[in-house]
Symmetry: C2
Subunit: 294 residues, 2 copies
């Protein structure tokens, strides 16, 4: 479905950052404005092609976006790390390689975990954080795709390619499914220079990272209380993949956070309500104060 | 502390609606614009004088506000009901008396419970609901002022008049207390035509209503699932009076709700972040769609 919006996401070329003695990272960088660059960190098995162009087009009007394939994902070289910590190191190395000292970050799902780990490792790397459909270390029920409500869609052979996303990222209500169909159509707007669909080697390593992220030692959520960065947490209230309780724990333990939940929405709430989410995110990112309240 | 804002809340006259064979209700009605009227329903022991003028001045620019003293509160006649249901009947009678068939509502704390009951009793009475620092019927830990963390402030004789509010409505952090001091100063801007402070007969009856509201029969929260009205739920993440878990239950059970939580904020989050709350509320109220997502 075409629209009148600026369709920069559809044609932005994939670029490659090749680091001497390191990996070759695939990324796309587009948009501009007075805001800091915004790093986008992607979900389980997701690639550069999995960002909703309606959302990225909207956000790109006021700042430069940097979409990133972590090691071993899409057309980035290397092995997919089996820990969030390993992914965080790659993402930081990538930012260093681009010469970006400080930026904002939008981390969705697995990407939100990577963002949390990056800011714990190097607080100055981010100014403001947007964490969507994600969980803190020690969170609950993170990405258990073997749960019957998820497994039945993943094992259904009629859900080919990205079309399974409309079943697992969206509620099964008429409005949820309509939003899911529209989302999958928008993903298909870009039809060249594609990463393609991730294989089982990506899924298996990332799943190991989720299992590790569920574990914690010592004072649960203590790490969160050291992150003073302004943070916006967003989640669909019916998220089956990373349930809402994880966003509650983020809101209760991050010292400087606004939580927003969307109704009749699952894991892909930011895509279902892309207009509102882009407005909320832009309002949050436009603030120069020390407070998360926008 | 004076500011450059329109200070309509400071001088709006108290009016009285006297119903034949019924009560005399005190109210204030001011502001205007293209929006529906907004009914404001007040917290435990609160009167017309307890609305933050910074908030009401901001909201009054786009709609008419109707501030209301329920029966037996402030200068309204009658006995304070000992149930939320009784308060809901008075508020509906009051709207009928003013000839307001449908309006929006902002219910804070006890007022949020009254708003829920009103819309259950008469769905057409409201278009959109804003529920702040409140709980569903069957909620948890509602207004237990005997808890040590609250009782120590309420029993401290140095907390005279409204100044106790800065201890129980705000966090005890420096920024929370600074916001509390500013709030109490703003309440003092209005210095004539006042309701005055509520006495124990108001507190005792309203406390009985809280105890009743904690009880439920049958399917817990089933009533909420019948309220399809667009609803905005707002709460401070550190609310000691009506803890955040009650807002989670509202967000999970109301079908059409956006939840927003504010950091380092207690029960009075809407006053602490009055600028942001007024923006969020105005954005929510300005939408004409069927969705709560603004």
């Amino acid at each position: 479905m075409m629209s009148s919006r600026t369709q920069i996401s559809r044609t932005a070329p994939t670029q490659f950052l090749e680091l001497k003695g390191g990996e070759r990272y695939a990324y796309r960088r587009f948009g501009g404005g007075s805001g800091l660059p915004l790093l986008l960190l992607q979900h389980f098995t997701g690639t550069l092609d999995n960002w909703d162009p309606a959302l990225t087009d909207a956000l790109a009007g006021e700042r430069e976006l940097v979409l990133f394939d972590n090691a071993g994902v899409g057309r980035s070289s290397g092995a997919v790390p089996t820990t969030v910590g390993g992914m965080a190191k790659h993402a930081a190395t990538f930012l260093d390689g681009l010469g970006i000292e400080t930026c904002d970050v939008l981390g969705f799902s697995l990407g939100g975990m990577v963002a949390q780990q990056m800011v714990l490792d190097r607080p100055a790397i981010f100014r403001r954080l947007i964490l969507v459909g994600t969980a803190p270390r020690g969170g609950e029920d993170i990405m258990h795709l073997e749960k019957p409500r998820l497994a039945k869609h993943l094992q259904d052979p009629s859900n080919k390619g990205y079309s399974v996303l409309k079943k697992i990222f969206f509620t099964l209500t008429p409005s949820g499914q309509a939003a899911g169909v529209a989302f999958v159509e928008r993903l298909a707007e870009r039809n060249q220079d594609l990463d393609g669909v991730s294989g089982p080697e990506v899924a298996n390593a990332q799943m190991a990272a989720f299992r590790d992220w569920e574990r914690f030692t010592g004072d649960r959520f203590a790490d969160l209380r050291t992150i003073s960065h302004p943070t916006l947490v967003v989640n669909g209230i019916r998220d089956e993949m990373i349930p809402i309780v994880n966003s509650y724990r983020l809101a209760e333990n991050l010292p400087n956070v606004v939580l927003v939940t969307y109704p009749d929405a699952g894991h892909g709430s930011l895509f279902q309500y892309h207009d509102s989410f882009a407005r909320h995110a832009a309002a949050f990112l436009s603030i120069s104060s020390e407070s998360a309240v926008y």
